[in-house]
Symmetry: C2
Subunit: 240 residues, 2 copies
DNA sequence: TAACGAATATGACAAAAGTCATACTGGTTC
DNA sequence: GAACCAGTATGACTTTTGTCATATTCGTTA
């Protein structure tokens, strides 16, 4: 929240928000949506900018309008572990708010990103009154927990090679392809991919080279093209 | 739910439940508690018995009255990954219920365990009407998510030795000590400990031997005594 | 009490993954 | 275009961890 592009706008209405149908939050009752509309703060983050920082206190919740965001823990030795990838329609920062704790992770924009900030009090107020929304939020948390538990199991039991293949497919699921239908629609550094997989950067680079050699992917700088998804899926050894 | 000890009892009242003050679920409004009381099914599981199985459909939620339970994923190769340890006052099986999915994990009693089963419809009904309870449930999920994310980061970044030390301390936090003040109050096999840490059984055995040599623990069959918690904490290298 | 099997323990080895050093590449700035 | 830097790539090596084989112990049952 260091950016200067903060606007209490009337331009970006929740009612006409592009994410109205995908975001949990925008499923609140109409009466609350109006309230959100008047209190929310529209904000833009440039690529690389921090939306919030591990250790600081949450004052509200962020609703991503457009763009891409990584959510990461900083390990004891300073190495980051990316725990979620977010896109338009997702909300961030609710975990700490609900647990009434400081942020346990840092959110950074992976590209220019637009977000709506909804103040804590309003968020909590709506949750306490809109049972439907609360139930949706609970489901969302529940799904997130499930995904994280699966990741945990895979991290514990699968070799790096399989996990990397899995992550590439996960990135595809999350952000999809570019217009060409094969290029992953996000630019991540090798280090960031490593921090998603939970391995060393060099290992990631090495394995990506192998994947290229085995004609599963094509590499062009930060562009990653998936040219044999079937083989990649096999490499990931997924069955759930 | 294969046990034959099922009783629609009037004996075990929620109102006088030993876990009334610790369990989230028992914080429901009094009117609902009465309802729960009449619909819940009291059940006993012997050590080693399965409470529910990965892949099957949830028909309700389990409230642990007394005893100890492990919740584990079965990895693709059949190796289990223990994702939670549960005790009296905890509830299990809510995750799948809320996400409207099959169980993604298996719950097994680590010792003789008493549970109350609350039918799905009632559980959902209460959640949809008791905003306070729903909010509590949300917090619970939120905390669980946080813990799991932390585990994920540690699994990705810390060596087995540190993770084992951490798990021993975690077991102590969860189940505490026996009356002697040093023996961990649960019997887990070396394999189970390994499946908590996310490592091979032999590695766990080896490291426990080291911990013993370095006089951090004492081993007596499945009994594990923590004789130098400070040193163990240092070995775990925790700072959060 | 003997005997059995399962769990624990330990050694030897293999495989996986991380680290360090060193190139190479691509994009940026001057 | 030269120079520079960060990111990428690759090789050589070390460390960590897993695997397999084999004792050994423990608790259980006959």
């Amino acid at each position: 929240m260091v950016s200067s592009n903060i606007t209490h706008d009337t331009e970006h209405l929740c009612q006409s928000c592009a994410q109205k149908n995908t975001s949990v939050f925008c499923k609140a009752k109409v009466e609350y949506l109006t309230e959100v509309n008047s209190q929310k703060v529209f904000n833009t983050f440039k690529k690389g900018q921090t939306i919030f920082n591990e250790g600081s206190y949450p004052f509200g919740v962020f609703c991503i309008n457009s763009g891409k965001v990584k959510l990461a823990h900083l390990g004891d030795d300073g190495k980051e572990q990316i725990i979620r990838l977010l896109k338009g329609g997702d909300i961030v920062g609710y975990r700490a708010l609900l647990s009434n704790e400081r942020y346990s992770a840092t959110a950074v924009a992976l590209e220019d990103t637009q977000v709506c900030f909804i103040p804590k009090e309003l968020f909590i107020h709506i949750l306490k009154n809109d049972a439907g929304l609360t139930f949706e939020m609970m489901k969302l948390l529940s799904d997130e927990l499930h995904k994280t538990e699966l990741k945990l199991t895979h991290l514990a039991q699968k070799p790096v090679r399989e996990r990397l293949a899995e992550i590439l497919l996960f990135i595809k699921e999350t952000y999809g392809f570019e217009d060409d239908g094969i290029t992953l629609n996000v630019r991540l550094s090798r280090e960031e991919i490593a921090n998603l997989v939970g391995t060393a950067t060099e290992s990631t680079i090495r394995l990506l080279s192998e994947f290229k050699r085995d004609s599963m992917v094509e590499l062009d700088g930060k562009k990653i093209k998936i040219i044999n998804q079937k083989k990649l899926l096999k490499t990931a050894n997924l069955q759930d």
